[in-house]
Symmetry: C2
């Protein structure tokens, strides 16, 4: 077995992503020699203890990060500023501070101002997830074959960046590097907008059901169903993502909306060629996803 | 085994749905004593022969329906008027004419004018499907546990309606009766609009990929993927559905669009409560679908 990448790794938050990192790290042994877990709610901490996710379960967040050479924030992006205020005075010199948040501009905005001299900030985002949440939802294979996007800052220490990449490689991920702005646009498109659409269409359908007094959802088999899987996602996490990727999300909603209305217009005026062209494009992209093994 | 419901059943078209009906009918034996298959393309007819889907494979559509006590149209809804012109002179007195089309207003519009005296029109729509098409894509279990919506006309013969219901029960479906207008609204919401959205978002993402020169689709794991499954659907079928459920589809697109922009507005102005409320509603509907075993 390779030497552990980190001597003492702290996971701040132990939900789906945090507990999956803990599981793969425990399973492999070469990610961290010791795993410390801290989280706000005592019942979650207790559950992490029961599940054997850590060597140390520490309710005091400041004490948890002390002496760690790597700290991974696995909490909703909306609480990063508050968490940073609590941990900043306790971060050791040379420590790598990274995270798993779905927005990266806001992470840089919230973490950079309090970053102590000698602590290396290397934001990251594993593109993996399920609609389930909490410490019981995680599993060691979650990141297998999925992308982890690293968004280093202009002055990031190359050795620290490499260590974060290696951590994700050992978790089974493929590595991509993007700047935070491009990251935020790309994930707004492939993840945040689809969630906004899924949450919305559930409500639109529910309104129609009330109005027609028909059990609209009974007939969901052939199309609607796929949209509702992601609509089952965690409330706090998604509220925070929407609010912290506002600009990119609104831009992608506007783009999508233009395109949807262009297709609607073609339906109105019976433009068969235009409609066929759009359907073909959807099929082409489906095939590309299958070829990339992302389908 | 019960007596066969029909003596001679003709399937006009042998794609995903037609071939699934053929398979379940062959497997059970109590749906029809003889199955006749007809379709336009000789290669498809040949494939139906090779797959053993019928007792008779008949290239002449007029001869195929002759002497049948039930004819099921399993072709894209855009060709119904043309098919009806071909079969109407050959339909036997007492024959039940039914179909599996995804739009029902257009079916009544296209079939009623040529309906011969003594032929019973009972439109139906099995709410089941996959993103695959053609005679090889069908399977006997496709309709199991899914709804079949029957949309009888005001003057429909009750015995004919009951026979069509019983056919779908024997296919494994649960039966619902709706009037054609309500049917078209409900399926526009749960099926046609989700498809329009899925086709659209694939194109929107592809445009972004070209613009950012990033492999946007590489990162599709956590949200986008679900949308692309249905975007892989059959071009002719979906073009016809969009064009033949125009009014209801445009109405549902407008409703969805209002709701999506209301959520977008809440994102813009940081209205956390509004956002949380929408996410919770999505989760609630997801749970309802799971309870109804439609998830």
């Amino acid at each position: 077995m390779a030497e552990p990448l980190f001597e003492r790794l702290c996971l701040v938050g132990i939900g789906l992503i945090g507990s999956s990192i803990a599981r793969v790290a425990r399973k492999r042994g070469d990610i961290a020699r010791r795993i410390v877990v801290t989280t706000r709610r005592p019942e979650t901490l207790q559950r992490a203890r029961e599940l054997g996710l850590a060597d140390e379960v520490e309710p005091d967040i400041g004490r948890a990060v002390e002496g760690c050479d790597c700290v991974v924030l696995c909490v909703p992006v909306g609480v990063y500023a508050q968490v940073m205020a609590q941990i900043a005075p306790h971060l050791a010199k040379g420590c790598i501070l990274t995270d798993v948040g779905s927005t990266k501009g806001s992470v840089v905005r919230d973490l950079s101002p309090l970053l102590p001299e000698g602590v290396h900030l290397v934001p990251a985002h594993p593109m993996a997830g399920t609609e389930h949440s909490g410490p019981d939802a995680g599993f060691a294979e979650l990141f297998q074959g999925r992308y982890a996007i690293i968004t280093p800052l202009p002055g990031s220490d190359p050795a620290a960046v490499e260590k974060v990449k290696e951590m994700w490689r050992r978790c089974g991920s493929m590595i991509e590097t993007l700047d935070p702005v491009t990251h935020d646009k790309v994930v707004a498109m492939v993840s945040h907008l689809p969630h906004l659409i899924a949450f919305t269409i559930c409500g639109t359908a529910d309104d129609l059901a009330e109005e027609t007094k028909e059990a609209v959802l009974n007939f969901a088999a052939s199309g609607f169903r796929d949209f509702t899987r992601i609509a089952g996602s965690d409330v706090d996490m998604w509220r925070d993502i929407f609010l912290n990727n506002r600009e990119a999300l609104l831009e992608m909603l506007a783009r999508f909306s233009e395109d949807a209305h262009a297709l609607g217009r073609a339906v109105r005026y019976g433009q068969a060629d235009f409609i066929e062209d759009r359907i073909r494009r959807g099929r082409k992209i489906r095939r590309e996803l299958i070829e990339r093994k992302q389908a």
